[in-house]
Amino acid sequence: METILEAKDILKVYENGVVANRGVSVAIEKNTIHAIVGENGAGKTTLMKVIFGIEQAQEGEIFFKGEKANIRSPHDAIRMGIGMVHQHLMLAPDLTVAENMILGNEPRRARVFLDTERAVEITEHVAQQYGLQVPPDRKIKDLPIGVRQRVEILKALFRNAELLILDEPTSVLTPQETEVLFKTLKDLKEQGKTIIFISHKLKEVKQIADRVTIMRDSRVIDTREAGELTEHDIAHLMVGRDISFERLPAPVQLGKPVLRVRDLSYVNDEGILVLNKISFDIRAGEILGLAGVVGNGQTELIRILTGLLEPSEGEIALQGETLVGLSPRKIREKGLCHIPEDRIEEGVAEETTLEENFILDRYYKRGFSKGLRLSWKSISEHSEDLIKRFNILAQSSKTPVSSLSGGNIQKVVVARELSADPEVIIAAHPTRGIDVGSEEMVHRLLREARDRGKGIFLASADLDEILKLCTRVIVMYNGEIVAHFQDMSAVTGKDLGPYMLGVQREEAVSGKVSA
């Protein structure tokens, strides 16, 4: 078996300091379907970006077909014979299939004119060559997503890709379309192509992959023949942790449920059922964790809870009062606050001062304004107070938020949300991308809130965080709650893993989840 691509000791550090790939070495054999699995943040997408030239590694080397490869841009990668099918399909919606196929490499007549017939011919030829049917004259926007993906694949093949990278290809497909895709990939393998396939869906990995590379925490854990591993094995390797002993002391006093969610379902714009009858309670004085791989409905769930999205069905009640249909402001006023998963996009307005960021949820309230008039004096005092209390490193309350470090920006968000003294705190990935010190502080604050009798909902992709902080944990997969852990004392990442990856599920979980 010859190796078509080899990555040696890749080190990739992003500008914000995050180490995405550390000492990553992988050998991809020719003529295989090679799956790369790992949690979000494990580094697999980064590795693919490095291979395809979208990013450059600080250290390490890549060998393609035995020769050292200097890949500085997708252009280089394409030229060498590497093709990539991105999650967000790179197609121009109002152009036809044939036009998208030959884009950038257009066949010409008399040097000046576009040879549209030839473009169609080429498309049909390539389609036939690889056994992938596509309608050359239809516009992309009129085609179902499975067909669009096929066009993407053909595009790469047309450019003589010998190595095809597919990033989570089945995430947008129906089961039927997935079957078709797999047949396609197997056919391509027969024809001599090599395929790298990023996925979370372990069932599919077992179904189609010859070899599997498991990544975790920016490193490669192992590369093995797919046949040697069961789904459980893979799941454990993906998620496995040394048993972390760091746990919060048990909650002081568990109160009654403060937030009740019943049969919450949500269908999105594309007709996909993203949340399927979600039910759970959050009690006063506990931290309920939401574990799961990003993309299983957690984001939508949180946006529904906080009023930024309307559910299709279901009930949400905060201390008996229904929240469904209320505006985000009303929901806040009822006592629910939200630490959003993307602090830059949503949590703060970077261009303006800390003061202006602190008052987002309370500028209209008494104490900060009289009627229409803002009381800047009280606002400044309040800001100074928050800066001190939450240890925010900033020159003054009048500095723009953009000049703060990530950790401090998150502190601004947390300071604002927690100082509203809410009954329920919804925290989504609250320590993502921040320094250890700030992370410590956020954890401490959540614990203190818990001990003061608040109910906290913590969604996180960081299993250590979940294990450390949560009183109970529910696991989401494919829009459903598939597991509920009531007693966290002996639970480890290995226990959560299989549920997170859809390998395992508890039956009739909903009945158990309510307190």
């Binding site: 979370h200 930024l308 494919n478």
Partner: protein, 325 residues
């Protein structure tokens, strides 16, 4: 039949429509081609003005129509190049930069006119040339149709050719394909190795190219001199026409025809003491209505029922939900 109606339906009026439409359509093509690449060029007013001026001056000093044409077109393309430099390289907002360029053109043309000829505001002392009219043998003898079609300035025949050229460029050349791709999905274009900025630059220069003809016609066909701000808002009308026409060749042509017809009608009605203003505003109003319908349709979200849901699925990309901007 009322005299008003008779005049409107006359062949002379048909002739007038094409005459009035000529500069509009040139400029509208310019707006359309730049929009297709995602960088709408609203500096047509200024581009036409500059070309009108350059054409007059060059023709007066060189006594060559050809040189004037070349110079005018070059000037138009230069405007496109300047806009692309400020927008693509220096990251200026394309709308604001275009407004600034319009202002610039308005001032510099009068300024340079003074330096070149001592005229203040209108090129009275310059002996500039005009583009010839074409009287087509045989056709001109056909009743009604002949009056409408024959006898136009060569530029008017040119604009019909321009629409065809526009169509060919956009749909039949690699550059046109790239322009459309860049306008629809710049990332997709980038991923196949297309230089998005360079393509946009070409689109802007092409828009300057077409706009230039509109300006040249104004000062060397419609009338035979240059006067300050002689474009009189045609560049803005061109934006309306291009938008109404969906930025595509056929639509742009029909919309410009509409605006041209209304404009011609307005001129005629004004001489009759009839409130031409009420007619003139119709195409603009139509554009707003069309824009609204188009936007409303694009926005229509179907709220799905749970039972109708296609499948239970995991989505990996988290799109902008719940109140997109």
């Amino acid at each position: 039949m009322s005299p008003l109606l008779k005049s409107i339906l006359s062949a002379e009026f048909g002739f007038a429509i094409f005459r009035v439409m000529t500069p509009l359509l040139f400029a509208a093509i310019g707006v359309s081609i730049s929009s297709l690449a995602g960088t709408i060029n609203i500096s047509m007013e200024g581009t036409m003005l500059i070309s009108a001026f350059v054409g007059v001056v060059v023709s007066a000093f060189t006594e060559s129509l050809v040189l004037a044409l070349l110079a005018g077109v070059a000037a138009g393309m230069a405007m496109g190049a300047i806009l692309s430099y400020f927008h693509l390289r220096l990251k200026a907002d394309i709308i604001l930069a275009a407004i600034a360029l319009n202002l610039f053109a308005s001032g510099i043309t009068v300024f340079l006119l003074f330096i070149a000829s001592g005229d203040k505001g209108s090129s009275s002392s310059l002996k500039s040339l005009v583009f010839p009219e074409l009287h087509i043998p045989l056709i001109k003898s056909i009743p009604v149709l002949g009056t409408i079609i024959s006898g136009h300035n060569i530029m008017t025949y040119g604009v019909i050719l321009a629409i065809v050229v526009f169509y060919i460029i956009i749909f039949k050349t690699p550059l046109g394909l790239r322009i459309r791709a860049v306008g629809q999905n710049p990332d997709a274009a980038e991923s196949v190795g297309i230089n998005v900025n360079r393509t946009r630059m070409w689109a802007l220069m092409l828009s300057g190219f077409f706009g230039a003809f509109g300006g040249l016609y104004l000062s060397m066909g419609y009338v035979s001199w240059f006067a300050r701000d002689m474009t009189a808002g045609r560049g803005w009308i061109a934006i309306a026409a291009a938008t109404l026409g969906g930025y595509l060749p056929l639509g742009t042509f029909l919309a410009s025809l509409l605006f041209g017809a209304v404009n011609a009608l307005a001129i005629y009605l004004a001489s009759l003491q009839f409130p031409s203003e009420l007619i003139s505003l119709i195409p603009y109003l139509a554009t707003v209505i069309a824009l609204t319908i188009y936007s409303a349709r694009a926005l229509k979200k179907r709220t799905h029922k749970v039972e109708e849901a296609k499948r239970v699925g995991k989505i990996t990309e988290v799109k902008e939900l719940g109140g997109s901007s």
